[in-house]
Amino acid sequence: MAVQLSDEHRMIQAMVREFATRELLPIAADLDQHSRFPREAVERAAELGLMGMTVPEDYGGAGMEPLAYVVAQEELARACAGFQTIVTVNNSLVCEPILRWGSEAQKQRYLPELASGRKLGCYCLTEPSSGSDAMSLRTTAVLRDGEWRLSGTKIFVTNGAEADLCLVYARSEPEAGARGLSAFLVEKPFPGASVGKIEKKLGIRCSSTTEIVLDDCRVPEGNLLGERGQGGRIALATLDGGRIGIAAQALGIARACLEETAAYVQQRQQFGRPIGEFQAVRWALADMATRLEAARLLTYRAAALRGQGLPCTGEAAMAKLFASETAMWAAHKAVQLFGGYGYTQDYPVERYFRDAKITEIYEGTSEIQRLVISRHLLARS
């Protein structure tokens, strides 16, 4: 399957690259060091249409298909992976499921706010005792007097500190596992919702990761997303898109590693010549470039399938698995080729190294991606 970028895709790519170069690159190191949320840059991104890229124009979005989204996400992550995390969660994990499963009233109410950057979204699936085994989550939802009451603690919630709207999964039905779950649109000010512990992290430090505590939180009946008992399906289908976004993040990090390293090895002299003249170094660069390109093709393919409304669970998992492992590998190589300098904060590759790791963990660890891929393989044969 050949995937080609259209003229519009290339224009979006150029625009986002320019935005990222002008407005993210100069502040990325500082955001990382101070774990600072880049509020102004998020506002600018929203003006440009990057906070609701696949939301139709009728709901205030940019109306783009997943391939354009992927191209843009790579550019953001190449400059600042943490910034891209903030953006990708709002797009893939919050706007997308509202668009797909939301009632007309929910779409009208939430999508324009999320797409315009007036409101920020977060996705609350993980709990202390359910990570990879997300469908065993324990937060409860009980319908009483025309109102849902949610109780439980969500952890590792990206955008948790700043978000206005939380997409929360809770157990509402007597059935065990996925079938017992429902999804809820919880506004932060709803009584009983609060932000708990804020994590201190290895990488993507400008994006907050927090607990969201639901203490008998009262949610209007109309804020159930989709049907009762549909939560498990919503969570899993949403992750297909989410994983493509993380694959694109990994592409951006891997590309940043390649670009920085290619520049450095031409300039750093040892043994009387640039280290880029040593074959061992050149081969490392060739391998970085080749793996990056392969990861990009997998990611584009998954996005193109999703854009055509075709099933892409296996393809999205492959893209996420291969791209994230490529990013980690490329970051490892980059630090190595920078030598001691690569280990210091004077160069950005140590940040790439720290940022890359998360892509192998969230939205399903590499092990879980392998599980998904193999399950698809065996189910088909």
Partner: protein, 264 residues
């Protein structure tokens, strides 16, 4: 107000030097295989026009002269940034024309457009940097001309433009129609197109004219005056000189060298 912005597409000036080559046959820069972009100051000119559109609803048309196939990206970008429509004068020979010849064709196109209160160009192109198009356009059209303009304020009366000079700026009131050549400034940094405007750009009108459709003014022979005999890539040589003597003498000598090079 009707504003026409003349845009030229050039080989990306930020390409590394090794990608610069001269075609020995035409004595022009090789464009094939190089990314083309809107010439730097032309983007500033477009930004000035779009600010007039934002402030007072000016209608902005972009005009470009070049092989139609090669200029489509520049046009699309200009429309995505906010221009209302585009006119392409499709001339495959455009990259080989002199600035004077280009000005003559552009003037003819502007006459055909009909209404043009302000005509904006970059103050120089990123490749030839001849700086002749704006003044020659003004002469051809019988319009006023102000060069090195950074911004334009259009109120009820005649527009007032800011012309950058060595130590500050002049405020110049212009009568219309006027041709302004625009230089770069904090205030006219080109905006980024929004995603939805990139999509909408496809639906904006683009007209393609042939040079044969245009009536060039006969007052002046645009070919006369300048002939380019050859184009040479400068050879870059570097030389290292060691200054000797006591530190104080070395410093004096260094300061003198820097002064000689006009770096101090």
């Amino acid at each position: 107000m009707d504003v026409v912005v003349c845009l030229k597409q050039v080989v990306d000036p930020e390409l590394p030097v090794r990608d610069f080559a001269v075609d020995p046959g035409t004595q022009r820069q090789v464009r094939e295989g190089r990314p083309l972009v809107i010439s730097t100051y032309d983007e500033n000119a477009l930004e000035v026009a779009l600010q007039l559109k934002d402030a007072s609803g000016a209608k902005v048309k972009v005009l470009t002269l070049g092989p139609a196939a090669a200029v489509s990206e520049a046009i699309r970008l200009a429309l995505a940034m906010g221009a209302d429509e585009a006119i392409v004068v499709d001339d495959p020979r455009a990259p080989e024309l002199s600035g004077a010849e280009k000005a003559c064709t552009l003037a003819a196109a502007i006459r055909r457009i009909g209404s043009a209160d302000l005509i904006l160009t970059g103050c120089e192109s990123a490749d030839w940097a001849e700086r002749v198009v704006a003044p020659l356009l003004a002469e051809d059209l019988g319009a006023a001309c102000v060069t090195f303009v950074s911004r334009v304020e259009a109120g009820d009366g005649a527009p007032v433009v800011r012309r950058l000079v060595e130590d500050g700026y002049h405020l110049v009131e212009v009568r219309l129609p006027a041709v302004l050549s625009v230089t770069s400034d904090e205030s006219n940094r080109p905006r980024l197109p929004k995603v939805k405007d990139i999509m909408a750009a496809k639906r904006k009108p683009v007209q393609t004219w042939s040079p044969a459709d245009l009536t060039r003014s006969s007052a002046r022979d645009p070919g006369a005056g300048v002939e380019v005999r050859g184009v040479v890539v400068p050879e870059r040589t570097s030389r290292c000189e060691f200054l000797t003597g006591e530190p104080a003498e070395q410093v004096t000598a260094l300061a003198q060298r820097l002064r000689d090079q006009k770096l101090l």
